[in-house]
């Protein structure tokens, strides 16, 4: 049995309308080919959790009408400016926004990783981030003295989706230093990975590679999508395509421009 799917669309089968999908930040391996494939398929009503922030990926999915709820700490194109479709959707109130703070998302996924219903976190008290999250609770710490502390309920995504440099035929995936990808996979019911290439041999049999490997045990499907993070970077392998991101920022500033972008860079691939 191999997790390596025949096509990208096959690999993405478990991502269904309405599911809770967790994806990583821009520099941890964003599955952009997979994101474009999901938009082409017309996925709807995603509860998107971006760990802990997002850029182009969330903006594209929101602009294409795929997202019902967004749970993250920030969406921005970084040096290329604000995330235009995210901003427009918030102002139009067309998505439900669950504003968080980065360590809260890490902790809430680690809660599921550890099989506990909640995790405590410092900070937050007195902020409006906490004020508008009625799913978060404040208790008086049993180990303190009038010491309020926030408890975050565990987040259990239906699917974790990310891009990595390589996998092997046993379904093991090399994630390097991006350890939050392991936490995402541990926390999610299913994990789908796209990779730039297939590594010959077994990643777990070489100790030095094993140290950066997420075991195939946690992986449900893998698709080969060469340079699959484009135009976002894959650290240690390729940088972001700045010219493309600047073009996106410009086109996506209006709804018409965004539609033209989708036509040119997302839907055009359907015919190819």
């Amino acid at each position: 049995m191999s997790q390596i799917a025949a096509t990208l669309d096959d690999a993405l089968g478990a991502i269904t309308d309405g599911c809770m999908l967790v994806v990583p930040r821009e520099v941890s391996g964003v599955p952009m080919d997979a994101t474009r494939a999901l938009i082409r398929r017309g996925i709807r009503r995603l509860h998107l959790v971006a760990l802990p922030t997002s850029s182009l990926q969330a903006d594209l999915l929101i602009g294409a009408g795929c997202v019902e709820t967004l749970e993250t700490s920030a969406v921005s194109l970084g040096e290329y400016g604000p995330a235009p479709r995210f901003n427009a959707a918030i102002l139009a109130r067309s998505i439900k926004m669950k504003d968080a703070t980065c360590p809260a998302l890490h902790a809430a996924l680690q809660a599921t990783e550890k099989g506990v219903p909640f995790m405590p976190l410092r900070g937050l008290i007195g902020s409006d981030v906490l004020k508008y999250r009625d799913d978060w609770k404040v208790i008086d710490s049993p180990f303190g003295n009038n010491d309020p502390i926030v408890l975050l309920p565990a987040i259990k995504p239906d699917v974790a989706l990310f891009h990595a440099a390589m996998a092997d035929v046993y379904g093991n995936v090399w994630i390097g230093r991006q350890r939050e990808l392991a936490t995402m996979a541990h926390a999610a019911v299913k994990t789908i990975v796209t990779v730039d290439r297939i590594h010959p041999g077994n990643l777990l049999e070489t100790p030095v590679l094993a140290a950066g490997t997420l075991p195939g045990f946690y992986i449900d499907a893998i698709a080969l999508t060469e340079r699959g993070a484009w135009p976002l970077p894959l650290p240690d392998y390729y940088a972001a395509d700045g010219a493309h991101l600047a073009e996106y920022a410009k086109m996506a500033a209006t709804e018409e421009g965004f539609a033209a972008y989708l036509e040119k860079y997302v839907y055009a691939k359907r015919a190819a």
């Binding site: 520099v27 920030a74 040096e79 504003d99 360590p103 890490h106 900070g123 902020s127 981030v129």
Partner: protein
Amino acid sequence: MTFLPEELLADQIAHLIGGVRHVAVGNASPIPATAALLARERGRGRPYVSLLGSPKNTFWTDGARELFDCAGQGRIDVFFLSGGQIDGHGNVNLVEIGAHDHPKVRFPGSFGSAYLYYVVPKVILFRTEHSRRTLVPQVDYISAPGASDPNVFRPGGPVALITNRCLFSFANGRFTLQSVHPGHTIEEVIEHTGFDFDRPANVPETPAPSAETLTLMRQTVAPQLAELYPQFAAQVFGIKLAKDLPQEASAP
């Protein structure tokens, strides 16, 4: 030597960093990143500098959470925050302007501010645009508050705010004007600041960066910046970056 405003700010921030062990810089913060790398060059490798999102300029190997874990352990001495709005109580707003139910403007989001502002001892606020639009009496949304009740665990908080016009210090819940940048005036600062602040009888001019500092920044720091901030490094320092990273022999 002539210098750009960004160079003045980076030099000042490098002074504010002081003799600490570890400075971390968050997303979308090219000027603080310049300052931190400058401080590291001056200190011959100390402080440790961590630039979020840069594998070359972080020692982190435990994933995206390590910045926050590290701060929770008390191992980050200095961090930087900006805000769509900053008010006179040191509250920062990275989320929205207007009513929460129907905001008029949306910013990216709070990032790690609602945590790091509480646990990092020296948080340096920076906001290049110094106007009554950005420096307000009261923020519309508190991403992170400037101060907390005494029973709230809070070893950290703001120590300073730097803008394109001046430098403020922060203590006891209020800002105090420390210096005004060359080419700007106290009157101009008062006119463009939406909150009350304290000021001494004599407010000095912010010192210009030395020739030595400018050389260090332009020749040694700028190329290091280009990995993470190619546009900024190009615009401010004229650095260019190839589209692809050189393929490292060791990357498996």
